[in-house]
């Protein structure tokens, strides 16, 4: 059983049954592993699509209630399947293609954006043992693939052949490159203590309740968490850092020329990305799946992640937007020095053994 892609615990019976079923209909065993991986991929894709749809609905509800409205109310209880209907509507929409577009770039930009959003989930620990592949470079891999998004935004900006889109693409490139640095350094602060890049090791090193989590490793834990959260908000282009799609300045930035399903891909990818950065924060700082044992680990993971998503949403509906140069100044003159200082402090603590 060593080829199991996941150390199946909670889902073990299902996969075991599936494995036996596939074997019993006479599939050669060489096919089994790719097939199981394919199924897992489909599963992750399905779950994440559902999560993204839920997040869209949730965000609309939160925004509505902050603004003393009701938000979607028509489809089902409090409009719970409103976003599904929206997705169906977008699927039926005409795909408008600008005549002056760069054909190849224009087509591939949303595809890359969409795919890149899902890549990170290869190493995301959903629960105790619920992981597709426990790579030993887990977090490094996540940081590498999430940066794909910026390429797609730049492609969208360039391919649309529209000045607003181009400005949006350029802004997002500048922004993501700047905020990648504090984000990585904040993560490094945790890595120093774990001594491993594997996501499972990171979670396991904070097993137990509350005070084993890295957010409560004073003094550097909370600082790293806050700087990570700020940088992550900027990474996923959300208010107050949503300058690439600033509606009032650039109409809607890089995706201004997209319509129909291509637009929906950008839109869903944005929410998946938001979930990704929240999941990373939950894993690194809030102890991942750790919690009281009588609640299943994946519920803990989802709970913590959604808590951070909620925080990001509250930011969005409270704050005004920063200006592009202020955003850069904030990253290079404030966030990066703070994160580096924090990293050094953490290193000294580790060297002296002043941690628990």
């Amino acid at each position: 059983m060593s080829f199991w892609p996941i150390a199946v615990l909670e889902l073990y019976p299902v996969f075991s049954w599936l494995h036996d079923l596939l074997a019993s209909i006479g599939l050669p065993s060489a096919w089994l592993q790719p097939l199981i991986y394919l199924l897992l991929g489909a599963m992750i894709f399905g779950i994440l699509s559902l999560i993204a749809l839920f997040l869209v609905w949730w965000e609309r509800k939160i925004a509505a209630h902050i603004q003393q409205r009701f938000g979607p109310m028509r489809h089902g209880w409090h409009g719970w399947y409103q976003t599904i209907m929206d997705a169906v509507k977008l699927l039926q929409k005409e795909d408008i293609r600008v005549v002056t577009r760069d054909k190849v770039v224009f087509f591939w930009a949303p595809v890359i954006c969409f795919v890149a959003a899902f890549l990170a989930y290869v190493v995301m620990p959903w629960g105790d043992g619920l992981i597709v592949a426990d790579l030993n470079i887990g977090i490094l891999y996540i940081l590498a693939v999430t940066t794909f998004t910026v390429i797609s935004l730049l492609m969208a900006g360039w391919g649309s052949n529209n000045k607003y889109a181009l400005l949006g693409g350029m802004r997002s490139a500048a922004q993501v490159v700047s905020y990648e640095v504090p984000m990585v350094v904040s993560i490094l602060t945790v890595i120093i203590f774990v001594g491993s890049l594997s996501m499972v090791d990171i979670v396991k090193s904070q097993s137990g309740l509350l005070f084993n989590w890295y957010i409560f490793r004073f003094p550097f834990g909370p600082i790293a968490f806050i700087t990570y959260l700020i940088a992550a908000t900027a990474e996923v282009n959300r208010t107050p850092f949503d300058i690439p799609e600033a509606e009032q300045e650039l109409v809607s930035g890089y995706n201004v020329e997209y319509s129909g399903m291509k637009f929906a891909m950008f839109f869903l990818a944005e929410f998946v990305n938001m979930f990704t950065v929240s999941a990373i924060a939950a894993t690194l700082f809030l102890g991942g799946w750790n919690g009281w044992e009588f609640i299943p680990s994946w519920i803990w993971f989802l709970f913590k992640t959604l808590l951070i998503v909620l925080l990001l949403m509250l930011f969005r509906w409270t704050y005004p937007r920063l200006r592009v140069d202020q955003l850069m100044e904030f990253a290079w003159k404030f966030l990066i020095p703070v994160t580096f200082a924090n990293l050094i402090v953490a290193g000294i603590f580790k060297y002296l053994g002043w941690y628990w």
């Binding site: 925004a63 902050i66 603004q67 003393q68 409205r69 000045k163 607003y164 400005l167 208010t239 107050p240 949503d242 300058i243 600033a246 509606e247 009032q248 300045e249 650039l250 109409v251 969005r316 509906w317 409270t318 704050y319 005004p320 937007r321 920063l322 200006r323 592009v324 140069d325 202020q326």
Partner: protein, 368 residues
């Protein structure tokens, strides 16, 4: 390595752009994100109101002029009535004057609440928009109760007002004022001390006093630049000289001051309305001369009032006939758009949006 070759490019902001508040087109010459030159192009909303007025009777002009500046339609009604009354030397009954002041000031509050919401939205905060509109709704309901309309009121007529207020108006109005003055702290709490808001508005797009006067800038924008000039005090019309209120003035002339000044003005307006409600006398609401067949004697007059955006004026010429000879409308936004190229350059596009929002431009007033 040689100098990197850069090139200025032109961005067409508008006519359909979320932050040009209607159909203003700004042709921006940009150097990267920096604005080098602004050229406003207007006229997309030109409805020839002045020409149509020349072919309508005086009373027919009033509903037409509602469309001149529809955010504060009461003041459009009023400024035309004022011009016609000055021309025909009509005495307006006391009660009508009080009602007019109440309506004008309520309309000013409604307009400033809209400004609050829209400006915050332009700077990227979505929530204040709904907050501003929520309280504006209370005022709009009062107008609906009075004249049946929510946007274009056709309420203030030559020689009076079209109808009396219903019985429940006064308690409802007092309640609305109480709610609004209570919510003011919410508005201020959300934005005034917010570091991002301060970053975005403080010291941005400073309009110097001399430039403002030279280009005919008026209203809150002029007062935010440190000129204490308000037509309600300086050239009093109606019964404004009977009320006790202050003209707020601020001295930096930047976006932040323009924003704060309007919040101050809401407070002063509440003060005026409270006094007017207390002193509201009984009596007629219309002068005897207020008829559909109103004709002005020959002559000409310029009437100007202070509406929420600045000086609103009507130059009315009459040759004694059924229709006016010439109606020239003057909106404050016309000058505010005109002055934009002279102080709005050399900043980022995001600042331009903040600047344009705090000028509180409304396009129907510019294009007419």
């Amino acid at each position: 390595m040689g100098e990197l070759r850069t090139e200025e490019f032109i961005v067409n902001m508008g006519p359909h752009h979320p932050s040009t508040h209607g159909v203003c087109r700004l042709v921006l010459t940009m150097d990267g994100e920096k604005i080098v030159k602004i050229e406003p192009v207007i006229g997309y909303l030109h409805r020839a109101i002045e020409k149509i007025c020349e072919n309508r009777t005086y009373m027919q002009c009033i509903p037409l002029l509602d469309r001149f500046e529809y955010v504060t339609a009461m003041s459009c009604n009023y400024v035309f009535s004022l011009a016609a009354e000055r021309l025909a030397q009509i005495e307006v009954p006391e009660r009508a004057e009080y009602l007019r002041v109440i309506m004008l000031e309520l309309n000013r509050i409604a307009s400033h609440l809209l400004f609050y919401g829209v400006t915050a939205m332009d700077i990227g905060a979505y929530t204040p928009f709904l907050y501003g509109l929520r309280e504006r709704e209370l005022i709009i309901d009062l107008f609906e109760m009075t004249c049946g309309q929510r946007l274009t009121y056709n309420y203030i007529r030559i020689g009076g007002v079209s109808r009396d207020i219903p019985k429940e108006f006064i308690p409802k109005c007092r309640e609305a004022l109480k709610i609004i003055s209570g919510k003011m702290s919410d508005y201020e709490g959300l934005l005034n001390e917010n570091p991002i808001w301060l970053e975005r508005t403080k010291g941005i797009a400073v309009l110097p006093k001399e430039l403002a006067i030279a280009y005919g800038v008026s209203g809150p924008v002029l007062r935010a630049s440190g000129v204490q000039y308000d037509i309600r005090k300086n050239d009093p019309y109606s019964i404004y000289d009977r009320f006790d209120f202050e003209i707020p003035v601020r001295y930096n002339g930047d976006c932040y001051d323009r924003y704060l000044l309007r919040l101050d003005e809401i407070r002063q307006s509440i003060k005026i309305i409270t006094q007017a409600l207390d002193g509201l006398p009984d009596g007629d609401i219309k002068s005897k001369k207020s008829k559909m067949t109103f004709k002005a004697p020959a002559g000409e007059v310029y009437a100007r009032i202070e509406n929420s955006r600045g000086e609103m004026g009507v130059y009315l010429m009459s040759d004694g006939g059924k229709t006016p000879l010439r109606v020239k409308t003057r909106g404050a936004s016309y000058n505010h758009v005109q002055v934009l190229p002279h102080f709005g350059t050399d900043m980022l596009i995001a600042d331009l949006v903040a600047n344009f929002a705090t000028l509180d431009v409304i396009m129907p007033e510019v294009d007419r």
